[in-house]
């Protein structure tokens, strides 16, 4: 009898204890980011944005009376590493949601795992459409590449007046391949010509061979849908070969290292991104002010703004759901409508993507300058 009682009472007691503990326990949010390695600038910016949002939320009392605990893991910008650390975040740290990554390739690695464990994942700035196609638990708070590719093709044709363009694509990054595809489709449709297509792989440093072939093809612009390290080296080597026409790309270019590595070669290059710190709207300006106060005067870039927004969208969804239960939280994120963030109004559509305007930035006198906004 006593034995039976013990068996029935113990689980009840344990459950009660656990419930009591949960009430004071912080809400654990997992973040995976490229804090070191080749795309460290992305991970660092995005992480700072997310961190700022979490600190701000905690300072105002958190959500549902609970504080947030951000658990950040570094994937060293390496392939294969994200899968490992996301599994660790889910199974050992028991996070209720995942925030990450910037690079689409690494988000694509983590997404199937998050989907499998039914943990909502919000990517701040992966733009490849495939990311959210991985399952119903995967969201993003930025625009997608079909829009970005179309916008840049129109910008190249209508604003820069380019007719013959060379494409220089990174074959080892899903982001680059996807963006190149959408750019190509639109550019051909609106009467432009892709004269030559050249390829490289992530981590390459010598692009002279591809550029020499491009030079021989007599184009009047180069579209480089890659990341900043390569974009800077490509621009530098193109200028060395006296190719002085516009070179332009997508949001993968957005990092201070672009100018640091590329130097003077970056003058007159363009890229599309998610927001500009020059935007005079009060929301953006107060974010820039808070960010600069927290991180030694650093001006937040688009990755920081999206990192911030991704955490805020998550917090808003938890508030509306009233719980951190996985499926209820998922539904609340999916129902996000007109959420006012730093990068504009976020509405999650039926494909779990956000529709937002893009801005075009150029490099002038060694600094990023706003050129124009392109609305969807």
């Amino acid at each position: 009898m006593i034995k039976a009682l013990r068996f029935t009472l113990l689980p009840v007691l344990a459950a009660a204890l656990a419930a009591a503990a949960v009430a004071q326990d912080p809400i654990k949010v997992g973040e995976f980011a490229s804090l070191t390695g080749k795309e460290a600038a992305f991970g660092q910016s995005s992480h700072k944005g997310t961190l700022l949002a979490i600190e701000e939320l905690n300072a105002t009392g958190g959500v549902l009376g609970r504080q947030f605990e951000l658990i950040t893991e570094d994937n060293q910008s390496k392939q294969g590493e994200s899968a490992t650390i996301v599994k660790k975040l889910i199974s050992r740290d028991q996070v209720i949601a995942l925030l990450g990554e910037v690079a689409s390739g690494r988000s694509l690695e983590a997404a199937p795992i998050a989907q499998n464990y039914k943990i909502p994942m919000i990517s701040p700035s992966s733009t490849n459409p495939k990311v959210t196609e991985m399952g119903s638990y995967i969201f993003r708070v930025c625009f997608i590449d079909p829009f970005q590719g179309t916008a840049m093709a129109k910008f190249g044709k209508d604003t820069l007046h380019l007719k013959k363009i060379a494409l220089l694509t990174s074959v080892s990054s899903p982001y680059s391949v996807g963006l190149a595809k959408y750019f190509k489709e639109t550019f051909a449709k609106i009467g432009g010509e892709i004269t030559i297509e050249q390829k490289y792989s992530e981590g390459d440093k010598d692009f002279k061979a591809q550029l020499t072939a491009i030079k021989a093809a007599n184009v009047d612009g180069i579209f480089v849908p890659g990341y900043y390290t390569e974009a800077a080296l490509i621009s530098k080597q193109a200028r060395e070969l006296e190719m002085d026409y516009p070179i332009f790309g997508g949001d993968g270019w957005e990092a201070p290292q672009l100018i640091e590595i590329g130097g003077k070669a970056m003058e007159g290059t363009y890229y599309s991104t998610h927001y500009s710190p020059e935007n005079t709207s009060p929301g953006v300006q107060s974010f820039v002010k808070k960010f600069r106060a927290r991180f030694a005067g650093e001006i937040p870039d688009a990755m920081a703004a999206l990192g911030y927004d991704s955490a805020m969208v998550l917090a808003d969804a938890i508030k509306r759901a009233g719980t951190t239960d996985h499926s209820k939280l998922r539904a609340a994120i999916a129902a996000t409508k007109n959420f006012n963030g730093v990068t504009g109004k976020t509405t999650i559509d039926s494909n779990r993507n956000a529709t937002k305007a893009a801005v075009v930035i150029t490099v002038k006198d060694g600094a990023f300058k706003f050129v124009q906004a392109i609305n969807p």
Binding site: T36, S77, G263
Partner: protein, 296 residues
């Protein structure tokens, strides 16, 4: 035609760097009969030494650039000798496999210590030499490409003179031929091996700085790919053979550049390594190497 010449020039300047690194692999193999996998990381340390020293001298001056090059070469020579003294010498009488695995360990040690000390984010290498472009018709030569080719040629000639015209060079060749006999003839093997490591590491440092000048983004893992390519170049030319390493580097650099500039650019490494396999099938000892039967 001008595209061909431009590609050839691009290929030669890349190949010259591969050649410099390959020389280090080949010299150590010639003397000790093992592959020093840490060599590609000495290359990386060379570039980082150049990065820090480059901040001390004014940019765009020839003397500043040469000073950085020289000091960094000396620094890496000391590093190479230290690695040999601490990691390889205690294993001199152990089977080659043990030393090989130690070499991989030293390589990883340098890479990840580098990540701790230098940080993992890529850095921008300063332009320590003057930068100018020269146009010959439509072929454009950058001053960096000229510096790479000139420095490589000078260093290879100096190396050839050291190996064939000096006493220590004769001792190196003697140790390479038969270490026991050399020791019996009064050659101090330890000094010779130490010197070989120093020389090879200095060349790796020069290669690192020249590489960073042309591709000015450096990180602690930057040595991995060029190191692998240079290793292939050394085998291609005939491992243990100094002119062979230079030839192998130039061939590999040129082939890689021509493939990159064609529509098959995605396959550039595959094609480069396929050529290696074909050459190995027809000339197992490499282009300039002599095939010798291993005596048991």
């Amino acid at each position: 035609m001008s595209e061909f010449l431009q590609q050839l020039l691009n290929g030669l300047s890349l190949g010259a760097i591969y050649a410099l690194i390959a020389l280090g692999y080949t010299m150590v193999y010639g003397v000790l009969r093992f592959i020093n996998f840490a060599h590609s990381d000495v290359f990386m340390v060379g570039a980082f030494l150049g990065y820090y020293l480059g901040k001390l001298v004014p940019e765009h001056t020839i003397w500043g650039g040469l000073a950085v090059l020289a000091v960094s070469m000396i620094g890496c020579a000391i590093l190479g000798m230290t690695i040999e003294r601490l990691a390889y010498r205690p294993l001199r009488s152990a089977p080659t496999l043990n030393v090989l695995i130690t070499a991989i360990g030293v390589s990883l040690l340098l890479e990840y210590t580098g990540q701790v000390f230098f940080g993992a984010a890529p850095r921008n290498f300063p332009s320590i030499f003057p930068v100018r472009n020269f146009s010959f018709g439509s072929v454009i030569v950058t001053s960096n490409q000229l510096i790479v080719i000139a420095v490589s040629v000078v260093l290879m000639i100096v190396l050839q003179l050291i190996v064939y015209r000096t006493k220590i060079g004769t001792a190196m060749r003697a140790v390479s031929l038969n270490p026991k006999a050399a020791a019996l003839m009064g050659v101090n093997n330890d000094v010779v091996i130490s010197f070989t490591f120093g020389l090879g590491s200095a060349l790796a440092a020069a290669g690192g700085i020249l590489y960073a000048l042309n591709y000015p983004s450096i990180d602690p893992l930057m040595g991995v790919m060029p190191g692998l390519k240079a290793f292939v170049a050394a085998i291609l030319g005939g491992i243990g053979n100094i002119p062979g390493a230079a030839l192998g580097g130039l061939i590999l650099g040129t082939v890689e550049t021509f493939v990159s500039g064609s529509q098959w650019s995605t396959y550039k490494d595959a094609i480069a390594f396929a050529i290696l396999i074909i050459i190995m099938l027809f000339r197992p000892a490499g282009l300039l190497g002599k095939f010798t039967v291993e005596k048991v």
